[in-house]
């Protein structure tokens, strides 16, 4: 199936004015179970290439659970079960297929966590880690990739003179940008953000949001956020989830200006959640 062109999928409402973007991924009837508890109920939606897609909804709605399906994080814990498919294009791979190695999926799709989680190693070693996992040993190439990634995460100028310092000595916002650099260093096809600014102050949040806006030029982004304003600011598409179901998916403008669903509208306007 490798080489199959990505199917063109119009946004669900087929917003006439908007040219249909190419889909990087498409979720088809995804259900997910933590043991006997069904956390996701038959979710279907596309993720468009080089766009930012935001997942919003009240706590416990399953948005993080859905995000963590994209890099098979749930495989780390026993008793979890996927049903349905998440197709990844252009090679048309169902990344939930048990025969697909989760490590291969994680090498293609990177993740930035809610709380900055740098390793207790140097700044340099944090960024280089993904490359080291891939067996890269050439110092010159590592140096170059580390610099590129740190520049990509808008952190290079702040840390270029102390690459051997421990990552813990950075501020919270810098640590989170370091984690973004770490995720970028291996040139992933897609970047997952699990509410990346919830532990940060407003200034650090603004810098991460700006970074996301720059990154989408090159990479497909899926972001979970509990902050609706953030979704409105950074995303091109928004999905509203509630109790494990996808209530509405559309262009962010549409979701925030004239949602079709009453539940979405109540949540967006703060009457609920």
């Amino acid at each position: 199936m490798v080489g199959t062109p990505a199917p063109k999928i119009a946004s669900v409402t087929a917003a006439a004015a908007r040219p249909a973007a190419a889909a990087k991924s498409e979720t088809k009837a995804l259900s997910f179970y933590y043991g006997a508890f069904q956390a996701l109920k038959s979710i279907s939606m596309p993720i468009y290439e080089k766009k930012v897609t935001a997942l919003i909804g009240p706590s416990g709605c399953g948005k993080s659970t859905y995000l963590r399906c994209f890099n098979r994080m749930h495989d780390l814990y026993p008793g979890n079960r996927y049903e349905g498919q998440i197709m990844l294009y252009p090679d048309n791979t169902n990344i939930l297929n048990p025969v697909v190695d989760p490590i291969e999926v994680r090498m293609r799709i990177s993740m930035v966590f809610q709380k900055p989680n740098p390793f207790p190693k140097s700044i340099y070693e944090n960024v280089a880690y993904g490359l080291r996992v891939r067996g890269e040993r050439k110092r010159a190439l590592l140096d170059e990739k580390v610099e590129d990634a740190l520049r990509g995460a808008a952190l290079w100028d702040e840390v270029k003179n102390r690459l051997n310092d421990l990552a813990f000595n950075l501020s919270g916002g810098q640590q989170q940008r370091l984690c973004i650099a770490r995720a970028l260093a291996t040139d992933p096809e897609m970047l997952l953000f699990d509410d990346p600014t919830s532990a940060l102050d407003p200034i650090a949040t603004a810098s991460i949001e700006q970074l996301i806006a720059e990154l989408k030029e090159k990479i497909t982004i899926l972001i979970v956020t509990h902050n609706m304003q953030q979704a409105a600011r950074v995303s091109d598409y928004t999905a509203y989830m509630y109790l494990g179901e996808l209530i509405e998916f559309d262009a962010t403008d549409t979701i925030f200006i004239k949602p079709r669903n009453k539940q979405t509208e109540d949540y967006i306007t703060g009457r609920f959640g």
Binding site: L76, G130, V133, F168
Partner: protein, 309 residues
């Protein structure tokens, strides 16, 4: 107004009454603490008074002797040191390996639960039972004799549960997001374990190992059971001094004695002078144990400085 004053006063009386219990508990707590601290201080002081005059360079460099003023602990401290080397070489790889496997690799099911209960119970088995096991298995079964190797293996098994539990605790204290961070970058289980889990849990593991060793160095019962001699007037071959390859390990097959046995030997003599020797040896043993504990604290402090979550 007076009603308000009365109300305030009743609240204050209530608080004062409740705070009396703070005082009561604090007093009881201090007393309980003192029992432990004073006992240790009294024991240590008694040993100091009896034993300190015997401490001299000769005491460390003389073999045991029939003349109490010429007797020393050379064979005992060398024996203890060598046995501890074998103990560490046994308990660290086995204990850390088992702990890492149980935490990182083993599926969580009734089998691993059963193993976990067994490991915990193993820590409670009296040490003499390990001595009997070792006598049957190592001395007679494997024909290792009454050697340093037998003693080291026995004490290694004895502290194995301590090392396993310390390893698991240390691994569990690593936050899940660090582990997930490594996996999210495409690391395999072994890459995550060797690059992250083991280095970050080293302070905790080292602490457990050293505390286990501090217990093992004072163990008497199992070492007597396997037949350590009480009177040894020679040293084993210096480690790694023989002709390689087989000769390198001549020392492990040597007969030996250890500090607590030397003490036991001296205490059972009728002459008071030997009792002084026993006190002096006890002093040395306590200092050895305390310095091992101090080392554990230092290592934990040093290594944890670079690891904070």
């Amino acid at each position: 107004m007076s009603e308000q004053t009365a109300r305030l006063e009743s609240i204050r009386a209530l608080i004062a009454a409740h705070k009396r219990w703070d005082l009561v508990f604090a007093t009881v707590g201090v007393l309980a603490l003192m029992v432990g601290v004073l006992t240790f201080v009294a024991l240590f002081a008694q040993m100091m008074i009896d034993g300190a005059p015997r401490l001299s360079w000769d005491f460390f460099t003389n073999f045991p002797s029939r003349k109490p003023d010429q007797a020393g602990i050379l064979s005992a401290w060398v024996g203890s040191t060598l046995v501890m080397i074998v103990t560490a070489a046994t308990a660290v790889p086995l204990g850390v390996g088992a702990g890492v496997y149980l935490e990182e690799y083993a599926p969580k099911n009734w089998m691993t639960d059963l193993i976990e209960i067994n490991v915990t119970n193993l820590a409670g088995v009296p040490s003499i039972v390990y001595g009997l096991l070792a006598l049957g298995l190592f001395v007679y079964g494997f024909g290792l004799g009454q050697s340093i190797l037998t003693a080291g293996l026995t004490l290694g098994l004895l502290i194995l549960p301590v090392v396993i539990v310390a390893t698991r605790e240390a691994i569990r204290s690593i936050p899940a997001v660090i582990r997930e961070g490594a996996y999210a970058l495409g690391a395999t289980k072994w890459q995550t374990t060797s690059h992250h889990i083991l280095p970050y849990s080293t302070p905790g593991i080292m602490t457990g190992v050293i505390i286990g060793m501090a217990r093992a160095i004072g163990e008497t019962a199992p070492v007597i059971t396997i037949g350590a001699l009480t009177f040894i007037a020679f040293l084993p071959a210096a480690p790694f001094s023989g002709d390689p390859p087989a000769g390198l390990f001549d020392w492990v097959m040597s007969p030996f004695t250890v500090m607590p046995i030397q003490m036991f030997n001296w205490t059972s003599r009728p002459e008071a002078a030997f009792h002084q020797n026993a006190a002096a040896a006890g002093l040395v043993l306590v200092v050895m144990t305390l310095s091992m504990n101090a080392l554990a604290i230092y290592i934990r402090y040093r290594l944890r400085k670079s690891i904070k979550w």
